[in-house]
Point group: C2
Chain length 183, copies 2
DNA sequence: TCCAGGCGTCAACACGTGTTGGCCTACAGT
DNA sequence: ACTGTAGGCCAACACGTGTTGACGCCTGGA
């Protein structure tokens, strides 16, 4: 079959995202990705040069945290939880990152910097507790990532069947306390 | 050098635990483990038969949850958090399990069954809410595993520098609410 | 002293991996 | 119709992996 170059590239990228999300960096092989995309492994190299660069392209990511200044103070926790659930389900990028960060120092560093660059400022602004903003952000991250780990990666059945609203109701106050309780 | 068979076996097991904890199942190679133990890779096979069986031996695990019936009702959350911190730091087994469960369905299943077999009954007994015990246990697991993920695996600096007591103070009430709040 | 059996090493196999280079072929521009 | 080029495939390389079997050597018991 014959295609435009960019179509093939997109096809590869889609297959790569699925494989990386399902298997993590190591177990996702170029050959499997190529097979999913219906092309030859060498095409992957042609378009992306290297497995590492393919991963970088597949794992491009932005948390897209909303502006929280217009949210009522008491709803910050729930809003954050709801946003993360959305962000986690819109595409597979966070699963890719988490599955890989656990055994790959470079990707772990990437996760750390994503959270410190985007979540710490929120915690600082909301809590007014600039001294402990990093701790507060880390605590919030621990609950949010833990939920995602159990729900999307380990697939604990009881967490999988809970509705979005249930999760927001349970986790909202927790994140609220971490991020916004008075110093 | 010459040794008793059991000494060598123990040596291999210790090296394996370190490697599995540091690198996860896939990246920890038999050759590297053998090198750490100062012996030939084939000895590993002789003593454990298979990489998978070596892993099974290295990842043998018991949560060792304490009896909570003698703990004052309000302290259950803090007690659980403190126990998990201990359990997590006494040896590397939980890190091994977590690092591997993320990309290995069999080990993920093992974690699920560990938590459902040991944490669900606690949640049921403490909360009296038998209908939602599985959800409560899963929520508690999400916070506890999330903390461990961020502290021991992703190594978020701010979580790493927090003291045991700080963590108990922050997470205790959360786990308390998950596991013991009235239905 | 001898020797059987267990502790240990070496070298190799079979396989899967990322990666490379050469070749084919359909199509667009002349 | 001719041809250059871009999209695609094939075969192979180099390497690291788990795993195996043959071979030495030390040591404890007869």
């Amino acid at each position: 079959m014959r295609r435009r170059s960019e179509d093939t590239k997109a096809l590869i990228l889609a297959a790569a995202r699925e494989r990386f999300a399902a298997d993590g960096y190591d177990r996702a092989t170029i050959r499997a990705i190529a097979a999913d995309a219906g092309i030859d492994p060498s095409m992957v190299m042609r378009y992306f040069g290297t497995k590492e660069r393919l991963f970088a392209a597949a794992a491009e990511f932005d948390l897209e945290l909303p502006d929280l200044t217009s949210v009522p103070g008491d709803d910050v926790g729930a809003t954050l939880v709801a946003h993360f659930l959305d962000r986690w389900e819109r595409d597979e990028t966070l699963v890719i990152l988490l599955r890989t960060a656990v055994t790959n120092e470079a990707v772990a560093e990437r996760m750390r910097s994503i959270f410190s660059a985007q979540l710490v400022p929120v915690a600082a602004k909301i809590s007014g507790d600039h001294a402990a903003a990093r701790k507060r952000a880390a605590l919030a991250a621990s609950q949010i990532l833990g939920m995602a780990l159990c729900r999307y990666v380990l697939a604990l059945p009881s967490l999988g069947t809970m509705t979005r609203q249930e999760l927001v109701d349970w986790l909202g106050p927790v994140v609220q306390r971490y991020v916004a309780s008075p110093a």
